[in-house]
């Protein structure tokens, strides 16, 4: 295996983290664990973002409120000011930037507590970097284009989905989907051009917050792929190795 690009980053990894064009953001990381903070900062910088770091809650709150931060990644347990308190204070001042909460706690109800405090997404440690990148990408693009909740007609290349009539067509040809396949496609279309992980699908489509031991999601995706890609030249539903899936128009 040969290096394919300059530097030490290989194309396959570049593709995994950077499968699509991620909007460049100014991201604040509030994390007291040095190893986690540094590798997170490094990965985000490699993905093209500019990164600021804080190692305690008070500094984090100050930086998040004053600077031109686009998105914040906040650990739950922080010195000086707890992660949840940070998010609550931030929301109390009216700052609406997307916040991803990282947690090393038990889970089940902690997730709900985190979202109630004002977090937009919640990720339990240890996480895969690809999972985190996919999630901040989804957070960053919330409200734009296809992702807008109010949009009833979603479109990607020749694939169209109408939420009102529950009709899906590709190249004008009607595609029959089950209710769940429709939901799955709708979720994928809302996140078109992004990497969507299996857990994001399980959370977004089924509202389940656990990892099934078997590859249940993969089988659902391959059914959906059968339905939308089988009879057409250009595949739209791609597998992103080691990360998840992506619905996009290329290759």
């Amino acid at each position: 295996m040969n290096p394919q690009t300059s530097g030490t980053v290989y194309r396959a990894d570049k593709q995994r983290f950077n499968a699509c064009k991620i909007p460049v953001m100014h991201i604040l990381i509030v994390e007291d664990d040095e190893v986690a903070r540094d590798s997170l900062a490094k990965a985000l910088r490699e993905a093209g973002h500019s990164v600021d770091v804080a190692n305690n809650g008070l500094d984090g709150l100050q930086m998040a409120s004053s600077m031109g931060v686009d998105l914040a990644i906040v650990d739950r347990m922080l010195p000086k000011l707890d992660g949840l308190a940070l998010v609550q204070s931030l929301r109390a001042t009216g700052r609406k930037i997307p916040v991803l909460i990282l947690s090393a706690l038990g889970d089940v109800d902690d997730r709900i507590t985190g979202l109630r405090a004002g977090g937009d997404d919640y990720l339990t440690k240890p996480y895969h970097m690809s999972e985190l990148l996919a999630r901040i990408d989804a957070l960053a693009r919330r409200g734009e284009g296809n992702t807008a909740e109010t949009n009833t007609k979603l479109k990607l290349a020749d694939l169209e989905l109408d939420r009102m009539t529950r009709r899906v067509t590709r190249n004008g040809k009607k595609i029959e989907l089950t209710a769940r396949e429709f939901q799955l496609l709708e979720f994928m279309m809302r996140h078109s051009g992004q990497v969507v992980t299996r857990t994001m699908l399980l959370e977004g489509v089924w509202d389940y917050h656990f990892d099934p031991q078997t590859n249940v999601i993969d089988v659902h995706i391959s059914r959906l792929r059968q339905a939308i890609d089988k009879d057409f030249d250009k595949p739209l539903l791609h597998t992103v190795r080691g990360a998840g899936y992506s619905l996009r128009e290329d290759e």
Binding site: M1, N2, P3, T8, V9, Y10, A12, D13, K14, D33, V35, A36, S39, L40, K42, A43, E46, M77, A104, L105, G106, D107, V108, D109, I112, T124, K125, P126, Y127, H128, M129, R180, W206, D207, Y208, H209, F210, D211, P212, Q213, T214, N215, V216, V219, H220, S222, R223
Partner: protein, 455 residues
């Protein structure tokens, strides 16, 4: 609870029942007491009346010997008029029972032999007359004449009936007051018990911050409530402590795992895919994944077992249908037919996420152990509030003597070692079932395993 039910509820309370028993006992006591008084009074009064009459009869008998009949008749007439002997009655009749002398108009038919008897006489009271009861004794005079001497006992009868009426009134009032008091006490207890059971329900749902209502009284219910509250304080402290321990254990395990994952992932982009170094790192991340899923399962089991999970109404019918739907493509891929029959409208109080994971674990297991082309059956049946979920497969099943132990932590039967998994799947199912107050039964599906969750 409707008003009727509440009323019936009061009737079933222990204070009300105790009040009924005591009212009856007191009423019987009052009746017995008054009966005894009446008996004693009757004996004294009757005895003195009888003595009086006996003496009169004796006196007349003596007079009869010395006096001629006409003088005797005159004597009787005289006695009859005598104002001093109030209430005394005399009557002398001839052999045909026609009155000869005295102040009683006719020979009473009650007077047959020479025995004490009662009869009634009309006594003038101003313009009207009133029936008075007399106690009298008849006796024979020479020549077939008969005579009776009696005494007005109406006054005693009046007193007696007054006493009887008083007695009945006392019994009725005692009963009514007893019932009323019992009802009032019952309502009080019921209100307090209702408040206590409402709070207890909330506590059972996982809200350990709730406390039983305590009134400012020192009765046994309030004492009990206070003691239970002290116990709840302790349980809350213990649970909170347990939760803190769990959280810090989770934190202390997840943080280094996260570092390991981040370090391995961070180093990977610099290594050529397929290189030995890279393979080592890939191995590391996959082991981290495995440790994470085991840790998640253990933490969830611990959370379920300590009961520190928020509970809310969960639409079990929807959940079962959706988990079945999630696993349907995966089972179809293995050629396994997944049949389901889900009764609508079943709701339970609990954690949707934990219930979903428990069901998912059961289906994971069923798919894992069912041979290709086999069958899995998922059934939700029973009433809306007490549903039963059954997952049945036709895999190898679990031998009867091992069904108990597989529910313990980390038990994997030898036959199962060739399948992937942490061995915590059924333990989590057991912990989640227990948290929801349900019964978990493993049974033979002949062949295969039948798992039943009875809520």
């Amino acid at each position: 609870m409707g008003p009727d039910q509440r009323f019936l509820g009061v009737l079933a309370t222990s204070p009300f029942r105790i009040a009924i028993v005591y009212s009856i006992v007191f009423a019987c006591g009052a009746a017995a007491l008054l009966g005894a008084v009446d008996f004693a009074v009757s004996r004294v009064v009757d005895g003195s009346t009888d003595n009086l009459i006996e003496a009169e009869v004796q006196g007349l008998r003596e007079q009869m010997v010395v006096l001629s009949r006409s003088d005797f008749i005159e004597l009787i007439e005289q006695r009859s008029q005598d104002q001093d002997v109030r209430g005394a009655v005399y009557l002398m009749v001839d052999p045909q029972l026609r009155p000869v002398a005295g102040n009683v108009p006719a020979w009473p038919k009650e007077a047959n032999q020479d025995k004490w008897f009662y009869f009634k006489v009309s006594v003038p009271y101003g313009d009207e007359t009133r029936e008075h009861e007399m106690r009298a004794r008849p006796f024979h005079l020479p020549g077939g004449y008969r005579m009776l001497v009696g005494h007005d006992v109406q006054e005693r009868q009046d007193v007696k009936s007054l006493m009887m009426r008083g007695l009945i009134a006392a019994v009725v009032v005692t009963l009514l007051m007893g019932l009323g008091g019992g009802f009032w006490m019952g309502r009080r207890i019921l209100a307090q018990a209702g408040a206590i059971s409402a709070v207890a329900t909330q506590i059972m749902r996982g809200d350990l911050s709730q406390r039983l209502p305590v009134r400012d009284a020192d009765d046994e219910i309030n004492k009990l409530a206070r003691e239970i509250n002290t116990m709840l304080d302790k349980i809350e402290q213990l649970t909170l402590g347990m939760r803190t321990v769990l959280d810090s254990a989770a934190h202390d395990l997840r943080t280094p795992l996260n570092r390991l994952q981040a370090t391995a992932e961070g180093a990977m982009p610099g290594l050529a895919p397929g290189s030995p170094e890279r393979r080592v790192l890939e191995r590391v991340t996959s082991e981290v994944d495995h440790m994470r899923s085991t840790l998640d399962a253990l933490l969830r089991i611990a959370l379920a077992e300590t009961g520190t999970v928020a509970r809310e109404p969960v639409d079990l019918s929807e959940l079962v249908a959706s988990v079945v739907e999630l696993y349907e493509p995966a089972s179809e891929e293995r050629g396994i037919a997944l049949h389901s029959s889900v009764a609508p409208g079943a709701t339970v109080q609990g954690s949707r996420q934990l219930l979903a994971q428990a069901l998912a674990n059961l289906l994971d297991n069923a798919i894992k152990f069912t041979p290709d082309g086999g069958h899995i059956r998922v059934v939700l049946r029973g009433s809306a509030s007490e549903p039963e979920v059954i997952v049945e497969d036709d895999g190898p099943g679990i031998p009867a003597d091992k069904r108990e132990i597989v529910l313990g932590r980390r038990v994997r039967l030898d036959e199962a070692r060739k399948f992937p998994g942490s061995g915590l799947g059924l333990s989590l199912v057991a912990a989640v079932t227990k948290l929801h107050g349900a019964h978990l039964v493993l049974d033979d599906a002949g062949p295969g395993l039948k798992v039943s969750l009875k809520f």
